[in-house]
């Protein structure tokens, strides 16, 4: 989208930020750089500290350690009302006693030196126009639908031209149908305004749809991995990421002779050469269900294959998930496009099948 040198690679820098509430460490020494005009998603299960991290950036919480630098300016000493950031709160926190226009104008009224009333009115119009809410300027928040409230909240948080827009679970209050449409709409708006944006979500689909890069957080408040949506999906850095994002088959064992020996599998598993751990180390192999081939007979040239019986089938329209029980008792999932069987009849529960996958299709994990 833009070509900028490495200097712009860290428009926002979070350096070793931690937040401790009493005995619990909500954010555990997170270091992170966000580029200008990027939409960055913090993804994690609820209670993993991602919202706390966002609040640290907004100044609503004070970090226990570490600092936050935005566009070369250390934010640590600034109270929230002086920070060039604005947040769109979960469930929006619109002021119930103010009209839509007054909600949007609220932040503008706080700017010193004072903006002229005419300027404020123009800016409010511009913002409501952006989110297509001009017709509702005189309404109160409780007279609006959830989607409309979300748009007003966005207009309010963009009105002050923040250097950084913070979105806390922006769409979690909406119905699933509206949510999917709104995700792309929101991305278009943010890109049109050209604001740098950090988004917090527990919904991996939302993160993958909206964000250019994703930071995955562990339940202990650590930042586990940062990458583009396909990087975190295709090359998870650890077991938690592999399992949290999408479905995966995780096979644990010990590396022996360049192969992974699992207790419950007769044959050691072939591993891709790149990044193969040293012999004797404990490792896990993550194989996405769509990388696993399912066939009625053994395949001629497969790096890894194992026989089993179909235990369960989940028909999902575009594909079916086959839960196959292997001889050792382990169940693996193979995701098969429904169109694949063609003339053949698809295997049913109880059928004997073979699972196979190529060594490069598995990702070797050491933690």
């Amino acid at each position: 989208m833009e070509d900028r040198g490495d200097a712009q690679g860290d428009y926002l820098r979070i350096e070793g930020a931690s937040k401790r509430f009493g005995e619990t460490l909500a954010v555990a020494s997170v270091t992170l750089a966000v580029r200008e005009r990027e939409i960055f998603a913090l993804l994690g299960a609820s209670g993993c500290g991602k919202s706390t991290l966002l609040r640290l950036v907004a100044g609503l919480e004070t970090p226990t350690t570490g600092r936050i630098v935005l566009d070369g300016e250390d934010l640590s000493a600034l109270p929230p009302h002086r920070r060039p950031t604005n947040m769109m709160f979960q469930s929006y926190a619109l002021f119930p006693h103010l009209t839509v226009a007054a909600n949007v104008a609220f932040g503008l009224r706080q700017i010193r030196p004072h903006m002229a009333p005419k300027q404020i009115a123009e800016r409010v119009d511009e913002m409501l126009d952006l989110v297509q809410m001009q017709a509702y300027a005189g309404r109160r928040p409780h007279e609006l639908s959830g989607g409309q409230q979300q748009r007003v909240a966005l207009a309010r948080s963009l009105a002050r031209h923040p250097k950084l827009l913070l979105l806390d679970e922006p769409l979690s209050a909406l119905d699933k149908k509206i949510r999917q449409r709104t995700q792309l709409e929101l991305v278009r708006l943010i890109q049109r305004v050209g604001v740098t944006c950090i988004l917090v979500t527990h919904d991996q689909e939302e993160a993958m749809t909206m964000a250019g890069r994703i930071g995955v957080m562990s339940p202990k408040g650590e930042l586990l991995q940062v990458g583009t949506p396909d990087e975190v999906y295709e090359q998870p850095a650890c077991r938690y990421t592999a399992q949290f994002i999408g479905e995966t088959n995780l096979l644990g064992g010990r590396v022996t002779g360049g192969r992974l020996r699992c207790d419950d599998l007769p044959e050691p598993l072939a591993l891709a050469e790149a990044g193969r751990p040293a012999d004797g180390s404990e490792a896990w192999l993550s194989v996405r269900p769509e990388r696993v081939r399912l066939s009625r007979t053994p395949v001629d040239k497969a790096d890894n294959q194992a026989p089993g019986t179909v235990d369960n089938i989940a028909y999902l329209g575009s594909h079916s998930d086959y839960h196959v029980r292997l001889a050792g008792g382990r169940t693996m999932i193979a995701s098969v496009p429904c169109a694949r069987w063609g003339e053949d009849t698809a295997p049913v529960r109880g059928d004997a099948v073979w699972l196979s996958w190529a060594a490069p299709d598995g990702v070797v994990l050491t933690r």
Binding site: L60, F89, Q90, S91
Partner: protein, 313 residues
């Protein structure tokens, strides 16, 4: 299981019936009696009045009201423009309204921070703090007023004066008791919980995220208070003020004990007319006018409270 259903029906009946019966028995009926007394003529007998409603020898009901007390009140009102005219009832009414307004204002100024702190404190300590606000109610109201008397007294029993004398800060005891200042102190002290509780009930509902959103949008703490907290607690302010103002207008005991009678209140006026003056119709008329005049502001405040900018639906 027939019994629970029966209970339920009965419960519903009583729940609907009781408040109305209570109002009828203890408000409407006595009020009608007072109206009757206010329209009767004074008489040297027991009771010292003759009801306007009488059963004549012909077996017919006769209605012969005497509106003298109301005429007196109207004349006082008519003489408002004349300087120096004697207006004992209007003066007492004015004193009472003034004191009640002042009490309400002081209670609001002191009670708001109280309620705010309790509402913002951790959930576990809230109950304790609320209990502390209510704690004075465990002692008799009259005892508490007497306690204030012994605090403010200028003789040897006055604790405050004795303490100040002992500290050497004053040489003569200060005249703390028997003036309008003492009355105000007693009123504020007695009515403060009635301000704190409704305010707390509204402030505790205030969503903390709104305050954070205001902060995030650049508002300084004072601006947040004035533009978010205050309007959103408006109904609590209205409710608390009503709870303090309305009983404060008719307050009799506190001005009587702490004021020493140097300021004539409407409650004292009514007492005098019922008691020493033996003018029951006059006293009753003042009471009726007071009720009617208080209903006005209550209706106004209620409507205002509902349509207030801070109303959260």
């Amino acid at each position: 299981m027939k019994l629970p259903r029966l209970f339920l029906l009965r419960g519903r009946f009583w729940a609907g019936f009781l408040p109305w019966a209570w109002l009828l028995l203890f408000f409407t009926l006595p009020f009608a009696l007072i109206v009757d007394v206010s329209l009767s003529s004074p008489e040297l007998s027991v009771p010292p009045y003759v009801s306007p409603l009488s059963l004549g020898p012909d077996g017919q009901l006769h209605w012969s009201p005497d509106a003298t007390p109301y005429r007196r009140l109207r004349d006082e009102l008519g003489a408002l423009a004349q300087p120096g005219a004697d207006r004992p009832y209007l003066a007492a009414w004015g004193n009472s309204l003034g004191l009640a307004a002042l009490t309400t204002a002081v209670c609001l100024v002191i009670g708001y921070p109280f309620a705010y702190q309790i509402a913002r404190s951790a959930e576990v300590s809230r109950q304790t703090l609320l209990m502390l606000v209510m704690l004075p109610f465990w002692t008799s109201f009259l005892l508490r007023v007497y306690a204030w008397m012994s605090l403010l007294d200028s003789s040897e029993v006055g604790l405050i004066n004795q303490a100040l004398l002992a500290a050497g800060w004053i040489e003569e005891p200060l005249p703390l008791l028997y003036n309008s200042g003492a009355v105000l102190v007693g009123m504020v002290y007695s009515y403060l919980p009635f301000m704190v509780l409704p305010l707390y009930a509204h402030l505790v509902k205030l969503d903390n995220r709104l305050l954070e959103a205001a902060r995030d949008l650049g508002a300084r703490p004072a601006v947040i208070f004035l533009s978010i907290t205050l309007p959103l607690s408006w109904r609590g302010i209205v409710a608390g003020s009503m709870m303090v103002f309305i009983p404060a207008v008719g307050e009799f005991v506190i001005p009587d004990l702490l004021g020493g009678g140097d300021v004539m209140m409407i409650g004292r006026r009514i007492w005098d007319d019922f008691g020493p003056n033996q003018d029951w119709p006059m006293a009753a008329a003042v009471a009726v006018v007071m009720v009617l005049l208080l209903i006005g502001p209550i209706m106004l405040l209620r409507r205002h409270g509902r349509a207030a900018p801070g109303s959260l639906r």
